[in-house]
């Protein structure tokens, strides 16, 4: 990272004025875009501490423009003074939150398990199912990526009603697994490709079975890739709205659906809306910041050779 850039400075030191201009431009652009990225988040978080007047007058800076208040969080039952009282809104929120956690973790785990196995098989062995060879099977899996949710939504609505999976978390987990499976297979194929085959050959010579070699030798090496795929899958599942809005009503409703249905009879309570939105984006924002390395690894898998 640091090695690559030395030649820039060498050539640019020759003209200090140009160097300074380019610095100003680069940092100006960086700071501008950082502002574009951060301001909506800042707005969301601060709005959750505003009262109605502060929202409608467009006050921006806490303590200067307006006095922060726990109003938004109180309406969710999550402010310091209401956290120990019973609150139906909080129960509702926690239920939706748990639904989101369970569906996204469940779907990502399921997709990682069956996706990694399939990716490993496709990378290491030659298959022939009828006239389908490895390339065709890979293409079959990856082509699911272009399938738009609308195509599946209505058939699934009918089918899920028939098999009693409508408005259940399992139903959502299965659909989300389907949704992220191509991405997981894409990432994991790349991962397994980078593991030298000699390792497994040695393990087989030492008497491990095929599956033993996979679990004891290959999996530990591919673990970072699995984490990357898992996190990317988590992000997609957590933010999914379309299927959740169509296929859930009371029991399995997830956070995005709850956020989208926040219009009351007296318009929108911005403070509670903002608190809810903050709670909805916080888990992924934290994961994104903490595990950014894996996310980038997942997104760039296979794109750069």
């Amino acid at each position: 990272m640091s090695v690559q850039t030395t030649d820039y400075t060498v050539s640019e030191i020759r003209s200090p004025a140009a160097f300074i201009t380019s610095r100003v431009f680069i940092y100006g652009a960086l700071i501008f875009w950082a502002f574009v990225c951060l301001f909506p988040i800042y707005w969301t978080i601060t709005t959750s501490f505003k009262s109605a007047v502060d929202v409608t007058q467009g006050h921006l800076i806490p303590f200067v423009d307006f006095t922060p208040d726990w109003k938004g969080w109180r309406s969710l039952g999550l402010s310091p003074d209401s956290i120990f009282q019973t609150s139906t809104v909080r129960d509702e929120f926690l239920k939706r939150f748990m639904n989101s956690v369970i569906t996204s973790v469940g779907a990502s785990s399921l997709a990682i398990i069956i996706g990694s196995l399939a990716a490993y098989g496709l990378v290491r062995y030659r298959y022939k199912f009828a006239w389908f060879k490895n390339e065709d099977i890979s293409f079959f899996f990856l082509s699911q990526l272009i399938l738009p949710p609308v195509v599946l939504a209505l058939p699934f609505l009918v089918l899920y009603r028939e098999v009693a999976l409508l408005d259940t978390r399992i139903g959502l987990v299965l659909l989300y697994t389907l949704m992220v499976l191509p991405i997981v297979i894409w990432i994991m194929r790349d991962q397994f490709n980078s593991i030298p085959v000699e390792l497994e050959e040695a393990a087989l010579v030492d008497g491990l079975s095929i599956w033993g070699a996979f679990f004891r030798i290959v999996m530990p090496i591919a673990l970072p890739g699995m984490v990357a795929a898992f996190i990317l899958a988590m992000v997609l599942c957590w933010n999914e709205y379309f299927f959740a809005a169509l296929l859930t009503s009371t029991d399995a409703k997830t956070i995005p659906v709850m956020v989208a249905s926040q219009t009351g009879s007296q318009g929108i309570n911005w403070w509670s809306m903002a608190a809810l939105a903050t709670a909805a984006i916080a888990p992924l924002a934290i994961i994104g910041i903490a595990l950014e390395r894996y996310l980038i690894m997942g997104m760039t898998a296979g794109s750069v050779k």
Partner: protein
């Protein structure tokens, strides 16, 4: 079904005839029982649902369980009859059976629904009506409008690409706090589009008090209504969607930039090329394969665009911002028109498949010609 040739990596394979006949017979027996069981449950269920028999289950759930058991039996059959080859097939089977069950069957079923007149809110129930939905679709100006909007939305990807490339170049330049900027630039991708469209689209860009509207007034736009006239509304939706997805392309392009060999750039510099020339004649051509991958993936995601539109404008004003997905969503949600909605979705699927296939062909030829 799995006829597997020996592996590419030449694993020591057990010849199939080393497997005792008893074991083979067990495998075949298992598979036969499982298949018969699955078929039996399906038949019983069909008879029950068509009221030709009184024995059966209330829902089709047992068929799902039977399918899972059948899948397990299929795996066992592979291992029992084919030994190590079977064990290899076992890697692929779960994902294959899962995807087939979750995609093929619903899609076929979807094609059938598309040929019916089925409104959930009417009493008449499902009625086969052939291609009526199709003719109705051809005459539907709103669907055509939604398709036209999709063309605009897809074209917006090019603008997103330019911005993403710029950001990737910025992050790749010699800067301080690179990690900080990278994390910050990545953040929008993490955020739920629904929460974003509420807090940005409905609050930040709100006509009266939103800071974005205030800023627009200061910049001289008297009437900063972001969602009231068709063209501005479309641009607002594009901007919001771009905001969430630019990091995705940016990260891929950044990885491409970092993987580029330094010697080439060095050589260009030594030859006296200006930064501008270096970019157009070295960096950009070298980045073309990565760019194409990023743009195509982005277009594929763009074709699914729905949630922002559903929450923000519901397709308004007058259908100006409708994407195909959001239009079909409302066809179902507001009008319960399952048959017609599915026909629209299926037509969209066909269009997408044709378009993406063409895009992939075109892209590979494009990359080959340039390099």
């Amino acid at each position: 079904m799995a006829e597997q040739t020996s592996t590419a990596n030449a694993w020591p394979a057990h010849p199939a005839d080393l497997i005792p006949t008893g074991r083979k017979r067990l495998g075949w027996g298992l598979l036969a029982i499982a298949t018969l069981g699955l078929l039996a449950i399906i038949v019983v269920q069909i008879l029950y649902k068509t009221e030709m028999s009184t024995v059966g289950f209330d829902t089709w759930r047992p068929v799902v369980y039977a399918y899972i058991l059948w899948g397990a039996a299929l795996g066992a059959w592979q291992v029992l009859t084919r030994g190590e080859d079977g064990q290899r097939a076992l890697f692929l089977l779960p994902a294959l059976l899962f995807t087939i069950a979750m995609v093929i069957f619903p899609t076929l079923f979807g094609f059938y629904i598309a040929l019916t007149d089925w409104n959930l809110s009417s009493f008449s129930g499902r009625r086969f009506n052939g291609l009526d939905n199709f003719w109705q679709m051809l005459a539907d100006p709103y669907y055509r409008n939604a398709l036209f909007n999709m063309v605009l939305y897809v074209l917006a990807v090019l603008v997103e690409y330019v911005i993403a490339f710029g950001l990737a170049l910025l992050l790749n330049a010699q800067i301080r706090a690179r990690k900080f900027f990278r994390v910050v630039f990545l953040l929008p991708l993490m955020l739920s589009p629904v929460a974003v469209s509420w807090m940005v689209g409905k609050s930040l860009m709100e006509y009266r008090f939103g800071p974005a509207a205030t800023l627009a007034r200061h910049l001289g736009w008297d009437n900063p209504a972001f969602f009231s006239d068709p063209i501005t509304a479309r641009i607002s939706i594009m901007m919001l969607d771009a905001w969430t997805f630019i990091p995705f392309m940016m990260i891929m392009l950044l990885a491409g930039l970092q993987a580029m060999s330094r010697e080439v750039l060095e050589a260009a510099r030594v030859d006296g090329a200006t930064a501008w020339q270096t970019f157009w004649q070295v960096t950009f051509p070298l980045m073309l394969p990565v760019s194409v991958t990023a743009v195509i993936l982005r277009i594929i995601f763009k074709l699914k665009l729905a949630d922002i539109i559903i929450t923000l404008t519901s397709g308004g004003p007058g259908g100006a911002t409708d994407s195909v997905s959001s239009f079909i969503y409302r066809e179902y949600r507001d009008r319960s028109n399952v048959g017609y909605g599915t026909m629209l979705a299926m037509a969209y699927l066909v269009i997408i498949i044709v378009f993406v296939t063409w895009l992939l062909k075109f892209a590979s030829r494009f990359v080959r010609n340039v390099n």
